[in-house]
Symmetry: D3
Subunit: 276 residues, 6 copies
Amino acid sequence: MKKSVFMEEMDAFTYREKLAKDAVVFIPVGALEQHGSHMAMCVDAALTKAMAGATAEALTADTDGALEGIVCSAINFGYRSQQRSGGGFHLSGTTSLSGTTIISLARDICYSLIEDGARKIVFMNGHYENYQFIFEGAELALEKASAEGIRDVKIQLLSYWDFVDDATIQELYPDGFTGWDLEHAGVMETSLMLLFYPDLVDMDRIDPALYTGLPAELPNYDVLPIVADYTPPSGCLSHPGASTREKGIILRDVAVANMVIAIEDEFSGAGDFHED
Amino acid sequence: MKKSVFMEEMDAFTYREKLAKDAVVFIPVGALEQHGSHMAMCVDAALTKAMAGATAEALTADTDGALEGIVCSAINFGYRSQQRSGGGFHLSGTTSLSGTTIISLARDICYSLIEDGARKIVFMNGHYENYQFIFEGAELALEKASAEGIRDVKIQLLSYWDFVDDATIQELYPDGFTGWDLEHAGVMETSLMLLFYPDLVDMDRIDPALYTGLPAELPNYDVLPIVADYTPPSGCLSHPGASTREKGIILRDVAVANMVIAIEDEFSGAGDFHED
Amino acid sequence: MKKSVFMEEMDAFTYREKLAKDAVVFIPVGALEQHGSHMAMCVDAALTKAMAGATAEALTADTDGALEGIVCSAINFGYRSQQRSGGGFHLSGTTSLSGTTIISLARDICYSLIEDGARKIVFMNGHYENYQFIFEGAELALEKASAEGIRDVKIQLLSYWDFVDDATIQELYPDGFTGWDLEHAGVMETSLMLLFYPDLVDMDRIDPALYTGLPAELPNYDVLPIVADYTPPSGCLSHPGASTREKGIILRDVAVANMVIAIEDEFSGAGDFHED
Amino acid sequence: MKKSVFMEEMDAFTYREKLAKDAVVFIPVGALEQHGSHMAMCVDAALTKAMAGATAEALTADTDGALEGIVCSAINFGYRSQQRSGGGFHLSGTTSLSGTTIISLARDICYSLIEDGARKIVFMNGHYENYQFIFEGAELALEKASAEGIRDVKIQLLSYWDFVDDATIQELYPDGFTGWDLEHAGVMETSLMLLFYPDLVDMDRIDPALYTGLPAELPNYDVLPIVADYTPPSGCLSHPGASTREKGIILRDVAVANMVIAIEDEFSGAGDFHED
Amino acid sequence: MKKSVFMEEMDAFTYREKLAKDAVVFIPVGALEQHGSHMAMCVDAALTKAMAGATAEALTADTDGALEGIVCSAINFGYRSQQRSGGGFHLSGTTSLSGTTIISLARDICYSLIEDGARKIVFMNGHYENYQFIFEGAELALEKASAEGIRDVKIQLLSYWDFVDDATIQELYPDGFTGWDLEHAGVMETSLMLLFYPDLVDMDRIDPALYTGLPAELPNYDVLPIVADYTPPSGCLSHPGASTREKGIILRDVAVANMVIAIEDEFSGAGDFHED
Amino acid sequence: MKKSVFMEEMDAFTYREKLAKDAVVFIPVGALEQHGSHMAMCVDAALTKAMAGATAEALTADTDGALEGIVCSAINFGYRSQQRSGGGFHLSGTTSLSGTTIISLARDICYSLIEDGARKIVFMNGHYENYQFIFEGAELALEKASAEGIRDVKIQLLSYWDFVDDATIQELYPDGFTGWDLEHAGVMETSLMLLFYPDLVDMDRIDPALYTGLPAELPNYDVLPIVADYTPPSGCLSHPGASTREKGIILRDVAVANMVIAIEDEFSGAGDFHED
């Protein structure tokens, strides 16, 4: 078997050895969701898994092996896509977990890892709508661990795009940046897909007739049932046209580097986030 | 009995008459949460109730009575306070509902109103952390109504501060605005409390020794269990010192006016949000 | 800020000081429910909050400050109104929580207070139908606390009307008393509202055409779906005509005094209920 | 196979024939709970099953077969015994369902019968603490049926002791009656056990040393965790000494006759409860 | 009271004495389910209760009283009957618990026994479809016990038919055995009913016109909604014609003897299953 | 983008076109679970996904495109591994969902696909322990769909190994076959992994010291907490030594061919399973 940071590609004995060294375990949380006609529907799950893999590797490298990284299987499904960040859960192809399901799922997986011996856990989110439910699941896992007398677990929760810094944003979005919520199927996600999964992107399928009204102008509130007219016809919320593999590299490198810092801040004895 | 938009101050027969005119029913969702030493713990619930009352009245006035407003009892308790928007749920005085509880609560109350005959419902949120759970509860209420064959309900979900426009923000925060998440117990909430509940604010209790490190610098991620050191000693995330009743009036007037527009966009036949 | 026993009117630092003295924390549980045409719909929540406030104050006075009282925000919503005690949940204006929601709500709030440090908790019920669900929620909070190693919590559960003694009942109901279940919107609730919230009562709205068939004669069983004909047209189960503010004072004074005794029996070291 | 009203003793084909005649289906709900040293622990389940059987037979007889009765398997387990009506759930031998479990159980069984074709359902309760949870389960079953388009179901909920009239109470309790809640393992239950299951009663095991402090004097509130001292040493709440098989016959006959009237009131076309 | 292994026929004081000797407590889990026209619907619950009783008695005899057996009330209702093992839950007379209900029920009852002091618990299953849900309920009870610091509980889960050995199968099914799943209402269950409850079997009601197509040929998958045509008209999955009381005796004796061995393997200090 | 049957590799517009042709949608359900030292932990999820892909393609080919196949993202996590079929959930690396979580997950995903327009759904299971929970989730999805008025959905539930016929078993297991439950990490799974994911198998890591006691002899019951000694040291339940890629081809071909027949039986108008 090849060497891998992914639990899915690791046998149990190897996993146990790594975990015995107090490895950081990443749980990527994505979604199966429409991303226009130019990208496959795996984007949120696949990118988060790839970013978690890159971060796990970088973490080990940066700490000279002091902090090993392991990436758990991705949660492939996410919370109901909301119109202001994913086009809406009414769109066919967008698969939705209810709130209590994703809470339970996050809790169970996190608690399983704790039972395995993991004490340093990072939930990496890649679907905007998931965050609050993962937070709740993580807290419930901690409460269950605490009831079992396990009180030395630390969980970090983050969304990878929050680690792209302002300088990079200004460089990659010279015409202005409309916010991560509107980046659904836009330049960030498309560029990262061109980097990690080029076979699952087809820039030629950016049909101008469909890709209009972008970036989407959406109300500063939600409506239920969803008003279908508010979502642009492509299902994308901003235009992916300017995406390139090179931008994908920049985004990955910046985000991974900053995530490594944040993870070390929390999980190495050396300090905490206030010191940078 | 005095005339009132609040269900709590209305007898059932009056309520039924109003509802028969297809009134818009507001559900204020707040929290019972520490807000430093200078304000009472009711802030999120009390302000949201007050803002909903003001909006209900303004809606009726603006539509010449075509759209009446009714305000349901407030949900007094909110989701676990998070460190980046409320200082954290570890703080004594901060009362926390778990995710599934607030989802169920929002669903049951919303569905009860639908059974009463309400077809135009506005969830007004006043505690940052609640939003996703209210959204889920509203969707579940709609699903239950739909199973009962009731398919003409429309629900609008909003947080009142999102209706303070950029011009007002620039005016009220001349030194820069750090975001609504950090406004926990800051100028917005304090100014509105000075307007609506002056007896529950005591600007003299803004103790400099306690009110340091503001605005708080918080990581761009969450950690569980909460790292108490990340929260400033007062529990406030930005400094309330510049708060005044006058700012409260401005904030109320701007937010109410913009909410009325948004509500009319959705609930009067005249148009939708795209047309403004 | 004024001095207050209500958490909603207290800042977090003051709350922590009080709690450090092992204060008794009251959780008022009410409902938002039709109460005829002569009273506002807040009765169950508002009266319970007021009674809890009066009891908290009396407790401190009676013990010379040895036992301080704090009143948490009220649970504004209650379990489905039943026909034999509230007229039925089919009536518009009556808002219903499902059983699991009120259980979870009672559990979460109670557990939050325990986490804050509260060890002496009184659930004061003011909506007949809530009792069993609050009991379950309290037990679940205790189980959660116990799993966390917190085993010194004591919870007292009561309904305030159970503390009106027989002598008072005979005095206030000279023509016979039909039971607390039928007291929905009758003399007890109306008299207390005339005392605590006179603006929310309008005795002139006791329309004889509507207020007939009282006290209601109801079967000694329940039927689902509710048979609307069994409920009197006003929604009241007994006639409020004889209500006065003076009776409100008597009811409050008797109930508060007896509750104070019961609370001291349980929470002061001096004795227990068997000794009186 | 012998002829029987009990589903447990009936083959499915016979059941279907009966149900096709729009039979009334009874669901007995009991408990497995300590009942002192003089009775077996099945009392609540066994008596309710027996009373339901007697009522089902009497119903058929009284209506000349127009209304047939079927008795479903008993729910053998009940809600946590409370100190004021069952001695408390801390007592060994008392088996407790949590609130949500008994709600779900009542819902599922009731809905299964509806799916079978039952449209006339009687929940007969025999464990004081169960009532509110059964009520909720019944309502949830109706909601599920309604969502499936089944809207002609009627459910009656009752506790059999509520059908013992005042004259009988005065006759059987010449020294005064302390209420059904305190009748736990007292004269009513013991007399009925002597009638229906004499092998499961042993009047010689009424040990005076154990059966003291009866009827129990209990507070007018609950305490959690349970204060064991409040429960009499036998676990009974009133004294069973005066129990006889003859009293059992009287109790059965009166309660059954009155239940038959109530059931006919609701389920035969002839009238409703107001007319008697 | 007669001496009995059944909790239902035992008073609480006797139960406590037995439990104090570290008795093995059996929880029989059955169903209320159609079993053709020749048997009553109680089969799964009634047989499992009888087998548990026989096993409890044999256990005490075999260990000379070292291991006493107690049989808890049966869970009378089971998981949705599946077409391949029970004919399907669409059949009238078959009563279905949803998955979460049976999980909760198993958890609560098991945990109640643990609270009583039981440390040796055997779940005896008699309805094929229940097994996985009981397993989950047992695990949840253990987790709750563990959170309370109770960590010396052991639970054994078994289905009684798995203890009929191959030699017996060959003897009783000379024409070949089609598997326990197809034994629904076949020779095993009918023979045991003829032994334990002869009044609830009527071999004359094996109508050839109805009892055709047996043993049923069912697909190696499930379909939902159930395809009614796949179930034979009688609802039985194999033919009960060759059933006799004598076969019932053999089946009982073999299964009980083997269960006693398995229970001693796990619960007596003498050894474990590997040693036989 | 390449042509693919996998939703994860398909854009939403292509998906909608396929679904408009009433495609069969497969939901693979696996687990993340230890599989000895010679295989990666993804086995159950990865193989099921691969088998679903092969079946989807074969279905389209066999029906000349009349029935298209789409494969949803895999459920990567499964129910608690049981000792008799997976070695036990106490083993590190084995990740466990609780029963209610996997029920909810199956329900939500299935219902999402139904909302997308899918009417022909196949749950393909690849982790022995999942089956009953998936069944429940599928039924709940159908109930929800039915409440929404959608009543033309058909769901088929199967485990892929059940489609390996007896002739193949005899051919591949010349020394006798011990049942699919014991095939955990044995010849079937290892051979299929050698076919589909050769990089994730390492036959050299079959360490004789570890791979002893195979096939495992396990009791015919379960014990909780798990008795670790009952599981062989490798975590495998049968020996994978005889595995080859060629056997993988045979297994895949036979199972896929038989699954295609079963799927056509249910989903093409041509007939049903009885006719073969």
